[in-house]
């Protein structure tokens, strides 16, 4: 364990602090992606490399990109047309880039290390996770599938564009 965990943990806490203190959504999302990457390194240190890959792919790859697309889609007003050019100046990328380089150096060091995980960490290989997931927890997997189906249907139902405002009293109060 030792310094690898402390460096990744410090990067995680620092980037999360930067997330909750930014006023700009895009800056906060950049730092939040760094926070997710550092948590993935911590997963690797704790003997769960498959979960670290899932964290990077699903969280930082899918969910964050979804939120970034959503933010970009909402800010299409005429007064915010030039916001992207102002948000993403090269100065903004310095902080997350430095934190990402620290994480990359630490990950390369961990991979090049000949010995496995130190300390009292027990590595659980992905095969055991898969055997457990599709063995005793098959009902929970089906429930997760139904939850994702409900999420798809709910997002489609809620995200439809209506020409008329749904609630009459909101229509009255906004006039």
């Amino acid at each position: 364990m030792g310094p690898a965990f402390y460096i990744a943990g410090a990067v995680a806490v620092l980037s999360t602090l930067m997330v909750i203190t930014r006023y700009n959504i895009m800056h906060a999302l950049l730092y939040f992606i760094v926070s997710l990457l550092s948590v993935a390194v911590i997963f690797y240190v704790y003997g769960a490399p498959f979960m670290a890959a899932l964290e990077v792919i699903v969280y930082a790859g899918a969910i964050m990109v979804l939120i970034i697309f959503f933010v970009m889609m909402l800010n299409l007003g005429p007064q915010t047309a030039g916001d992207e050019a102002r948000w993403l100046t090269p100065r903004i990328w310095i902080g997350p880039s430095i934190l990402c380089l620290v994480l990359l150096a630490e990950l390369v060091y961990l991979i090049l290390q000949p010995t496995g995980q130190a300390g009292d960490v027990i590595t659980v290989d992905p095969k055991a996770v898969g055997m457990s997931l599709f063995g005793p927890y098959i009902l929970a997997v089906e429930l997760a599938g139904m939850l994702l189906m409900a999420g798809i249907v709910g997002a489609y139902h809620l995200g439809r564009q209506k020409k008329k405002i749904l609630h009459r009293f909101l229509e009255r109060t906004t006039e």
Binding site: M1, T16, I20, L66, L74, G119, V124, L133, Q161
Partner: protein, 101 residues
């Protein structure tokens, strides 16, 4: 001197409290959604640490369920935010307090 498990749990607790603070002090709805993501991520970290402590795969199984739940929650939450933005023309959550009674 803390052992390995206690260090990971303390880090998960710190991240969870940071997400909770952000949830309490922020009034932008997208920031509140990101705060929920921070807290879910901290909970998943606690599960991974527990799996490494006992050497059992159940912690990682629970992390995969947390991942699926976070994906569904983000899609539905973003659709709700889109509706609120189209109706109120703002992302301030205090503006959405008109619906009472």
């Amino acid at each position: 001197m803390m052992n390995t498990t206690m260090e990971g749990l303390v880090l998960a607790g710190i991240l969870f409290v940071l997400g909770l603070i952000s949830m309490l002090i922020r009034r932008n709805i997208i920031f509140m959604l990101i705060s929920v993501e921070i807290m879910l991520n901290a909970a998943g970290l606690a599960f991974i640490v527990a799996a490494a402590r006992w050497g059992q795969p159940e912690g990682q199984v629970m992390f995969m369920f947390i991942l699926a739940m976070a994906a569904a929650e983000v899609s539905v939450g973003l659709a709700l935010i889109l509706q609120i933005y189209h109706q109120l023309k703002t992302l301030d959550s205090d503006e959405a307090s008109k619906m009472r009674g």
